[in-house]
């Protein structure tokens, strides 16, 4: 008799405990989901026009907008164009062209890439993502490779 009573009490205890747990999760779940921001639909940019050939002097680098990320367009001394993502592969800073170093440089942690976008010194773990540069007439288009 005594035993039966205590097992009934245990049973009620479990029911209450699980009920409480369920209640807690049902309160917590919407909050956690609320904190995670919704995915914004973004138009996938494949190709953009950045300007005319004469806008870019040899031996310079220019930041351009590629979708919602920055890219960098280099015009080498030889006149050749090259384009990369300007997002440093280390910690997301925006890189710049350094004429004095003849390299792409990130100010945040002193990362250096050569003019092919390869990481050659400092902390960057990977090369910069390369873009394709297409010169049509005197206009420059940049597109993602692949």
């Amino acid at each position: 008799m005594e035993n039966q009573k205590s097992s009934r009490r245990n049973f009620l205890g479990y029911i209450l405990g699980f009920g409480f747990l369920g209640w807690f999760i049902s309160v917590l779940y919407p909050i956690v989901r609320y904190i995670i921001p919704p995915k914004m639909p973004e138009a996938k940019v494949k190709s953009i026009k950045v300007g005319k050939v004469d806008d870019f002097k040899p031996g310079t680098g220019t930041i351009f907008k590629f979708g919602n990320k920055p890219g960098i367009l280099l015009r080498l001394e030889s006149g050749e164009f090259r384009a990369f993502s300007a997002v440093c592969t280390h910690l997301d800073c925006t890189v710049q062209y350094r004429g004095d170093m003849k390299a792409i440089w990130c100010a945040c942690h002193n990362g250096v890439y050569d003019l092919n976008g390869r990481n050659i010194s400092g902390p960057p773990p990977r090369p910069l993502e390369a873009f394709r540069v297409i010169v049509r007439g005197d206009e420059i288009y940049i597109s993602k490779e692949g």
Partner: protein, 360 residues
């Protein structure tokens, strides 16, 4: 008049039994010895926090959060609002001095081993207040939406992304999206003016309550001294008056700093501009920044950043738990190991900070 005061006191005492509390407070005393000076830094931190609350609320009257308004409203505060430059400068200076005071307070408690039994939880709450202060600093740094803040926040949050498995998801939660944008600004603003102040106030209250209940820690050497050799001064009014005098001096220092070295606003953040040369985080993050800079991209198959973050986290947890693993001091023995560890940490932090300034 005195009659009225007495009546008022009795009215409250009848209802809330405050006589015992007043009695307790009037017997409060502060030990007097050659390390007594360190007792003042907790009070200094508190004073600077109070200034933060007051000037922070004043700034809120004009600050408007948003990609197109944050920078402009701070510019408006410092250029158009009467004494706006002063309020903002005092706010920025006192924020930095508060972090400094908190660090001094922590190291002095550490080296005098005031964290030992029975004050373990005072140390733990103090450590929480330090981490909250650093979070305050990190979230507040972004709010003017200038170039330096933008890239510092990019780098600082990107480090969260280096945590395996949950890093990416966590990064999106912190930034309010994939990148540092207006959404990040809104999140940091909410954190800075609502969430953190709420949590901070509660923990600060508990911290101060513990100090009031237990009184100031006495140096371990005192345990061997006969009671008549131990010197004390009353808290009311002696210690309090000295505290107030020091607060007055600090207010003057703040005013001088704010007037002669006003805080720069810099250039507005532009997500499509390269990171400016000479970019650095706030000085109190510099030792971590410099460490991460010196780490190779890969350490033992893990990413350098994550390795650095891991080491700092483990060190932080060990530091938090000092009162529980330093079993020697509690038993009345001298624990030199604690001193060596503390010295190493202090020298490491100072050296890395200086290196962070010199090497760029």
């Amino acid at each position: 008049m005195a009659k009225f005061g007495e009546k008022l006191f009795n009215w409250f005492d009848e209802r809330y039994k405050i006589r015992g509390f007043i009695e307790f407070m009037s017997h409060k005393s502060v030990p007097q010895h050659r390390h007594s000076i360190w007792y003042y830094f907790g009070g200094v931190s508190l004073f600077l926090f109070i200034i933060q609350v007051i000037t922070g609320i004043l700034l809120l009257l004009y600050y408007r959060v948003g990609e197109d308004s944050s920078y402009e409203s701070v510019q408006f505060i410092v250029s158009k609002v009467k004494f706006g430059w002063l309020i903002r400068s005092i706010y920025s200076w006192s924020a930095n001095l508060m972090i400094l005071a908190v660090f001094i307070h922590m190291f002095s408690v550490y080296f005098t081993k005031a964290y030992r039994k029975p004050r373990e939880l005072t140390w733990v709450t103090g450590f929480l207040l330090l981490t909250l202060s650093l979070t305050f600093g990190f979230s507040g740094y972004l709010l003017p939406w200038n170039e330096l803040a933008f890239f510092a926040t990019k780098v600082g949050t990107e480090i969260i992304g280096s945590i395996p498995v949950i890093g990416k998801e966590l990064l999106i939660i912190v930034r309010g999206g994939e990148d540092v944008t207006g959404a990040t600004l809104s999140r940091f603003f909410g954190l800075h003016v609502a969430i953190l102040p709420g949590i901070f106030t509660v923990i600060l209250f508990i911290h101060l309550l513990f100090v009031q209940i237990q009184g100031m820690s006495e140096p371990p050497e005192w345990e061997k001294l006969p009671p008549e050799k131990r010197k004390y001064i009353p808290f009311f009014p002696n210690f309090l008056l000295r505290d107030l005098l020091l607060w007055l001096i600090i207010l003057n220092i703040l005013a001088i700093l704010a007037v002669f070295f006003p805080w720069d606003l810099g250039k507005k953040a532009d997500p499509f501009a390269p990171a400016p040369a000479g970019i650095k985080p706030e000085w109190y993050f510099l030792f971590m920044y410099q460490t991460l800079k010196l780490l190779p991209p890969k350490v033992l198959f893990i990413e350098g950043e994550f390795f650095g973050v891991l080491v700092f986290t483990i060190a932080g947890i060990l530091w938090l738990l000092v009162p529980f693993w330093d079993v020697k001091t509690e038993k009345g023995y001298r624990n030199r190991l604690i001193n060596y560890i503390g010295l190493f940490v202090l020298i490491y932090m100072i050296t890395m900070t200086i290196l962070g300034y010199v090497l760029s």
